[in-house]
Amino acid sequence: MNTNRRHALKTGSALSLLTLVAAAGWLKPGEAAAADAWNKSAFETHSLDETMKALGGSSPVPSNDIVFFSTPDIAENGAVVPVGITSKVPQTESIAILIEKNPNMLAAVFDIPPGTDPSLTTRIKMAQTSNVYALVKANGKYYVTSKEIKVTLGGCGG
């Protein structure tokens, strides 16, 4: 929907923290993520501060060419939050999902080889209402978009 406006609102915080993850080196150019050892350090960024320490590298550019689809603004339950991401950035190599307020920010990284559509859906856990970032690596550069997903309380005994 209105990724643009949302972007404008929080570019400041989004950009710095994403840079960090990118800089933490979770992807090496030209290599499939699955071929590498699991990138422990990238998956163990607990807070903004911690990610901050790894600052360096180029900032991801906010992009309207990354779009969330089949991703509701409100999740009825945080244990399963459907997320769909499409990248129209040419030469997209990988798509990552980050959840700002989760204990560990990075949820998943997908490598997209040539011939595979830069578009996928999956499901993530969210500890609470948070911004969710779709980070795309294309032709060696990073691009980002984000949206807030609210996690609601449910049930009669909770």
Binding site: I74, K150, T152, L153, G155, C156, G157, G158
Partner: protein, 213 residues
Amino acid sequence: MRTRIVGRCVASIAVIGIAVSVVYGCASAPAKNDVGERAEAMMKSSFKAHGQATLARLDQDETQRVCSEYAERALPPATAERIEKANLDTIRYPADGNLVGDWKSGEKIAQSGQGFQYSDDPKKPAGANCYACHQLSPKELSYGTIGPSLYRFGKDRGYTDETRRYAWQKIYNAEAFAACSNLPRFGYHHILTEQQIRDVVALLVDPASPVNQ
């Protein structure tokens, strides 16, 4: 033979194997209480005590019994009046006369659905789970609609002694105002403590409460 069976049809079901037509005969026969008694007996043998939820919870008081009986038809006005009067008589007020506590604590109580389930720790304070059924603070998107919206409860009614007293009574025992209401009797059943009721009253009637913004 047919008439006799229909007349005492529930007893017959229990004793004989019964024919289909007889069963349908029962549906229109005035033997409802007998089905009710059998249902009650069946429940008592089908539930098991678990933690704080003992089998005594299946024993109905007069209000529960009458409200179950009339669940599918209109409650006669005289019966409704009798129930309301009996429940009004159960309402107790704080010795110091202070009905209004802290709305912030009231908000927490309104959010919590813990308490009295067999899975709950009986040592922990219970919540009132108001948001399960009511809209209160407009900041909480996740609210239910079984009960009416209570947004602006105090503002709309006026911040008067009368409003405060009504809020206390409603929370303490709602059956005093509307027989067979869905609202639990938080005071009568000792679900909430005196202080907790004060705090929930505050959530409803304090001009500073988010409910009245």
